[in-house]
């Protein structure tokens, strides 16, 4: 376990040494703050558009951080040949996969916490109150969802040759799930039998990340709390998918030659 956390610590340090997070945070903060100064019909108390925009930027930023940070982990180690001394420590390959995953997930959690602190400050300043429980649920569920995204990017990093290709494919898959994931069965109903069967299979096989995205809307529109039991089930669902994808990544990485 110590080995995994040592590897994770290196990944977290890498995140705060790199500029990605700072750039994305500054962009999010500047856009949100500029938009908060806009007045519509001299009407006070208009805040949902701002929450919507800020959360959208947070979602985009967190996906960019998660995918880009994870996609370059193993290829960078291979390219700089630091993977050889690492595996000679002795550190097994599953520990490398688990360590990289834990590090990326924790790093994303840290980044997400900073984003949500900013979001909370904006809500508090504009609305005068903060629905803390809803806010914590949204943070937690988004972080849980990122575990699936990170494991996907990690699998991609041992399957695809270049981090850029991996990042692009991961973005496409994640955005695809968020946009059409919930409607695959409806689409299947309009297709010929074979396509319909494939779409239905896909519908039941993919991780339904759109559930987690829906929590963002609940926060914007001041909806009631989600049951804590449902939150726990959704967390278990994300953990199960992350574990399955990580296993696939480890199986692939285990047999992969480290030299190009």
């Amino acid at each position: 376990m110590n080995t995994i956390f040592c590897l994770a610590g290196i990944v977290v340090k890498e995140l705060y040494r790199r500029k990605d997070f700072y750039v994305l945070f500054v962009i999010t903060a500047v856009i949100t703050l500029i938009m908060s100064t806009v007045s519509f019909f001299h009407q006070a108390g208009i805040v949902r558009y701002l929450k919507d925009l800020c959360l959208l930027l947070i979602w985009i930023s967190s996906l960019v951080i998660a995918i880009v940070t994870t996609a370059r982990q193993i290829p960078a180690e291979r390219e700089s040949r630091t993977i050889f001394p690492l595996l000679a420590k002795p550190v097994s390959r599953w520990q490398v996969v688990a360590g990289k995953f834990t590090g990326c997930w924790l790093a994303c959690g840290l980044a997400l916490a900073v984003f949500y602190l900013f979001f909370g400050a904006v809500c508090l300043a504009k609305e005068g109150h903060l629905a803390l429980a809803q806010y914590l649920q949204a943070f937690w569920l988004q972080w849980a969802m990122l575990a699936v995204v990170i494991s996907l990017a990690l699998l991609g990093s041992v399957v695809f040759s270049a981090p850029s290709a991996n990042a692009t494919i991961c973005f496409t898959v994640v955005v695809g799930i968020l946009v059409v994931g919930a409607y695959l069965q409806k689409l299947a109903a309009l297709q010929p039998p074979l396509t319909a069967w494939l779409l239905t299979l896909l519908y039941f096989a993919i991780p339904h990340l759109e559930w987690f995205y829906a929590v963002r809307e609940r926060l914007i529109f001041d909806q009631d709390l989600i049951g804590w039991g449902d939150c726990a089930l959704a967390t278990a669902y994300a953990a199960a998918y992350a574990a399955v994808i990580l296993c696939a990544a480890w199986l692939r990485f285990r047999r992969r030659p480290l030299t190009a």
């Binding site: 806009v38 519509f40 019909f41 059409v180 409806k186 559930w211 609940r218 959704a234």
Partner: protein, 298 residues
């Protein structure tokens, strides 16, 4: 001769300023009189209408607090913006009784039915997913309607010829948000971009009559609206009867309050002749009552 960098900079600045004064009038001509156009309008061209429509839909999404059919449920998407004013007004109990026959409550029922697009969940994924999604049909109330205003403002900026944008925004601004000056300014902005619009004249008339108690101006505006309706819709096979009903009934009510019973009867008869009211019987009774009042007058 050696020139100092300061002198070179001063020279370049002078040349730049001289060129700017020379080129600015020409640059104005390049825009072909569209100098006042919004940057987005110049950049997006006609494509901005699509974006404006999307902004209006977003206002509707906000009005329903996020409960809205997706692109995959387009059969259930609202086809007009009436529910954003009529149904909500009735729901909040604001609609004056006298206005009841102006609105078709059947449309409200239809809207309610259409918004039941979710149906029962088909499998466990859908069932569990609904625990996170917004699944109840509500309309904004208690001043929260202000949340739709940014999208309506943006929609108007992108497509100044979309009438509903002005009428919906002005409706909430003047009724529940108490921002009458802004409602008037926005309607006038719409009227400037759409001088032939009878819908905007109806709403401007309502604002003068209901908020400023200025019957004379309201009469002028509604009379102008009636004239424009006749010119634009009179010859159509399927004219906008709801708007005609609004104009004639409101104008008739105004004339009645001023004691001009004959004029009021004339207006209500126009509405009856065009079958402009969803409740013609109520209008007939109103005409009868006015005739009695006219007969009793010395």
């Amino acid at each position: 001769m050696k020139l100092s960098p300061g002198l070179i900079l001063a020279l370049l600045l002078t040349v730049g300023l001289s060129l700017a004064t020379c080129l600015q009038p020409r640059a104005m001509a390049w825009t072909q009189g569209r100098a006042s156009d919004h940057l987005m309008q110049v950049l997006l061209g006609d494509g901005r209408q699509i974006l404006a429509n999307q902004m209006f839909v977003q206002a509707d999404v906000y009005f329903h607090s996020g409960y809205y059919p997706s692109v995959f449920d387009q059969l259930h998407a609202p086809t007009n913006a009436q529910h954003m004013t009529h149904a909500a007004g009735a729901q909040a109990g604001h609609e004056p009784e006298a206005d009841a026959h102006l609105h078709d409550h059947h449309e409200e029922e239809e809207h309610e039915k259409a918004m039941g697009f979710l149906g029962p969940p088909g499998n466990w994924i859908e069932r569990f997913g609904r625990k996170f999604a917004i699944t109840s049909h509500t309309h904004l109330a208690n001043g929260k309607e202000r949340e739709i205003l940014p999208w309506l403002r943006l929609s108007a900026e992108l497509d100044p010829h979309r009438i509903e944008t002005y009428t919906v925004a002005a409706y909430w601004l003047r009724r529940d948000l108490g921002n009458i000056k802004e409602a008037e300014a926005f309607l006038r902005q719409g009227l400037e971009a759409n001088p032939a619009s009878y819908e905007l004249l109806i709403d401007l008339g309502r604002l003068y009559y209901e908020n400023y108690d200025d019957a004379a101006r309201a009469r002028n505006l509604w009379t102008a609206a009636l004239r424009r309706w006749m010119a634009q819709e009179g010859g159509k096979p399927e004219p906008d009867l709801a708007a005609l009903g609004q104009i004639t009934v409101r104008l008739a009510r105004l004339e009645e309050s001023q004691g001009h019973y004959a004029k009021a009867i004339e207006l209500l008869e126009i509405a009856l002749a065009h079958k402009a009211s969803p409740q013609p019987e109520a209008l007939r009774q109103q005409v009868q009552a006015l005739r009695l009042k006219l007969a009793r007058r010395p």
